[in-house]
């Protein structure tokens, strides 16, 4: 039960973070490689405020404390955003990375604030709970996270329906033209970065309360990378895509990590495949197929998909075998024998390697043929969709 609660809590936090990230990537077209900065600084600020309030014997409202994290994120968004948003595109990406690295490396320079290697800790149970809610149990904490996540979901969705939200889309599409309808692309980007910082800070604040510890990891490029993964795998083209991504990636992280130490490798591979073959992410695939399904044409696609699934499975199995055997052989593991589903493999036997390689090679070959089929079917579906009245 507590495992499920802690997983759900993490999903809630990551949902807010991914939504905040997509305000930049999906809605404004800004690819940031340093979004963890706002999450982390929000985390540290929240925990410091909590500790300071407790130390001075002042009343603490844990319920509202994440808001302070949000304000810290907003403040830093206003500070850094001013420099980063002068340019878009690749330059923005590069600068956001630089700022991210700068903040992450300064965390070791100011141990008084960041707590050095060990980070800083706090205690969210201050004994002043209203109606007996003191956030002493995981369930109460989960409810707080869920409430904040729901609120942030409403607010971020609401933002897409405002002038600024729509202008951000316009800047993403065509920044030059925005200037000729009387708006400054820099100002629009700047506001979006600041607001995204606000929501990232809330997520950070909740994370600080949930774990009662914040380390430099909260500012790191790992976390920045993770949120890119979530937003992109879920799909940046839709509002709800990052929600799917945050939930899926968080669950998979726990699930796959419990089975194999190679999980970061698989994550990287899946990410690359999505970038190359489905840049709309899961939500993009859903949107594509929804139209087909509504037109009743899904039947035309399914057979081709089934045909492609077989060699796909072979490639998957072969790849997993190779990766697992490599890990098993690697310096960190002793035992070279392992089981993949029902297949016994031995990383020291050439037969296992050859079999795995053959599965991959044959799979790729067949997949190429099958993918032609799929493409043909798609073409026919597209043609049928175009003919249908809108």
């Amino acid at each position: 039960m507590s495992f499920v609660l802690s997983l759900l809590s993490r999903i809630g936090i990551m949902t807010i973070f991914a939504l905040s990230y997509n305000m930049l990537l999906g809605q404004t077209g800004l690819l940031s490689f340093g979004h963890a900065v706002y999450f982390g600084l929000g985390s540290f600020a929240t925990l410091h405020l909590l500790n300071a309030l407790v130390a001075h014997g002042l009343p603490v409202s844990i319920t509202l404390l994440p808001l302070f994290g949000g304000l810290a994120g907003l403040a830093f968004g206003l500070l850094f955003g001013f420099f980063t948003t002068r340019r878009a595109g690749t330059t923005f990406a590069m600068i956001s990375l630089g700022i991210g690295e700068m903040v992450a490396s300064s965390s070791l320079m100011f141990p008084a604030f960041f707590g050095g290697e060990g980070g800083i800790t706090g205690n969210r149970v201050t004994g002043r709970g209203l109606f007996g809610i003191d956030y002493g149990t995981p369930l109460q904490m989960y409810c707080l996270i869920a409430a904040w996540a729901a609120l942030c979901l409403l607010l971020t969705y609401g933002l897409t329906q405002t002038p600024l939200g729509r202008l951000a889309n316009a800047v993403r599409d065509n920044p030059e033209r925005v200037e000729f309808i009387g708006y400054s692309p820099h100002s629009i980007r700047y506001r979006m970065v600041a607001l995204a910082g606000f929501f990232a800070g809330i997520a950070g604040g909740l994370s600080a309360l949930q774990y009662e510890i914040v380390t430099a990891e909260a500012l790191s490029d790992h976390l920045s990378g993770l949120v890119i993964l979530m937003a992109f795998v879920g799909g940046t083209g839709t509002f709800y895509g990052p929600l799917i991504g945050a939930a899926l990636v968080t669950v998979l992280q726990v699930a796959v990590a419990s089975v194999t130490p190679a999980w970061p490798f698989y994550f990287g591979l899946v990410f690359l495949l999505i970038v190359l073959y489905a840049p709309g992410g899961i939500a993009g695939l859903l949107v594509q197929h929804k139209a087909v399904w509504q037109a009743g044409l899904l039947r035309r696609l399914l057979p081709a998909y089934l045909v492609a699934a077989l060699p796909g499975a072979a490639v998957l199995l072969g790849t997993v075998a190779v990766v697992e055997m490599a890990y098993a052989r690697g310096p960190e593991r002793g035992d070279a024998r392992l089981h993949l589903l029902f297949l016994p493999l031995d990383a020291r036997s050439a037969v296992s390697w050859v079999l795995a390689a053959a599965a991959i090679a044959a799979g790729i070959l067949l997949l190429k043929i099958a993918s032609k089929q799929v493409a043909e079917r798609w073409e026919s579906v597209h043609a049928a969709l175009a003919e249908a009245p809108r």
Binding site: G29, F265, G268, P331
Partner: protein, 311 residues
Amino acid sequence: MEFTLISLLNGVTYGLLLFMLCGGLTLIFSMMGILNFAHASFYMLGAYLAFQLSAWLGFWPAFFLAPPLVGVAGALVERYGLRRAHRHGHVAELLFTFGLSFLAVEMVQLVWGKAVVDYRVPPSLEGTLFTLYSTSFPVYKGFMMLVSVGMLALLAALLAYTRTGLIIKAALSRPDMMQALGHDVPRIFTLVFAGGAALAGLAGVIGGNAFVTEPGMAAAVGPIVFVVVVVGGLGSLLGAFVASLLIGILQTFMVGWDYSIIDVARLFGMQLHSTSALTRLSLTQLAPIMPYLLMVAILIFRPRGLMGARS
């Protein structure tokens, strides 16, 4: 005096190595508009390949074999990955190289493990080249300088005197003109990408044993490489060269100077009495973030970079 000279030598060595890394990145970025996130991964790959090959064949075969192998890896990445990602736009390209850099680290850990590998300077290049006052300057640093300068001279000659080099130079300032002039653009892109990767690989080969060869080495140098490109300015190899040396020398000096900000202020006649964490920081502690501070300063005061032709 002794400190200054030695630091200067060390800084130049480091700066030249940085430029071997950044030169290729600048070329790729300026011509193709691709910020190759995985560029530092080629540096790492070079070091690991050199480690493995020198274990099997000795240092010299590794020295000559590893960079071309990294170049081939670069060509494959460009041909089968980037070109496909390109269809989905610049963001997809950037994310592709980002994912690749992540995967590269995992792959290296898969094969060689998470620990530091024992990639050493070969015995033939051990020892002291000369002694300055009381500090010795190792032979290997001299070798690194020699290789860097030699490689750069070769590159400059290739750019100045070969047909492809001239096309590449022209493309640096006007990438849109290349296609118009009827050149085989995809082939040149692959070539430049492979060349840049091979250069980064060479930097890994000679840098991996001078510093450390470990899975974190790409992440350690990667962001600094981007800083060099921003500071140097888009489309300018010379700018990247100057920025590399600047950052190399500055960082080396800062690591060596154990003054605090209070001391620096006193130097300029200011008396700071504050005991805040900021003023008590020593320059040594500031060294890791110096490149980023420099980048922010450049962005504020000179957004085109030191020698950028385009913004």
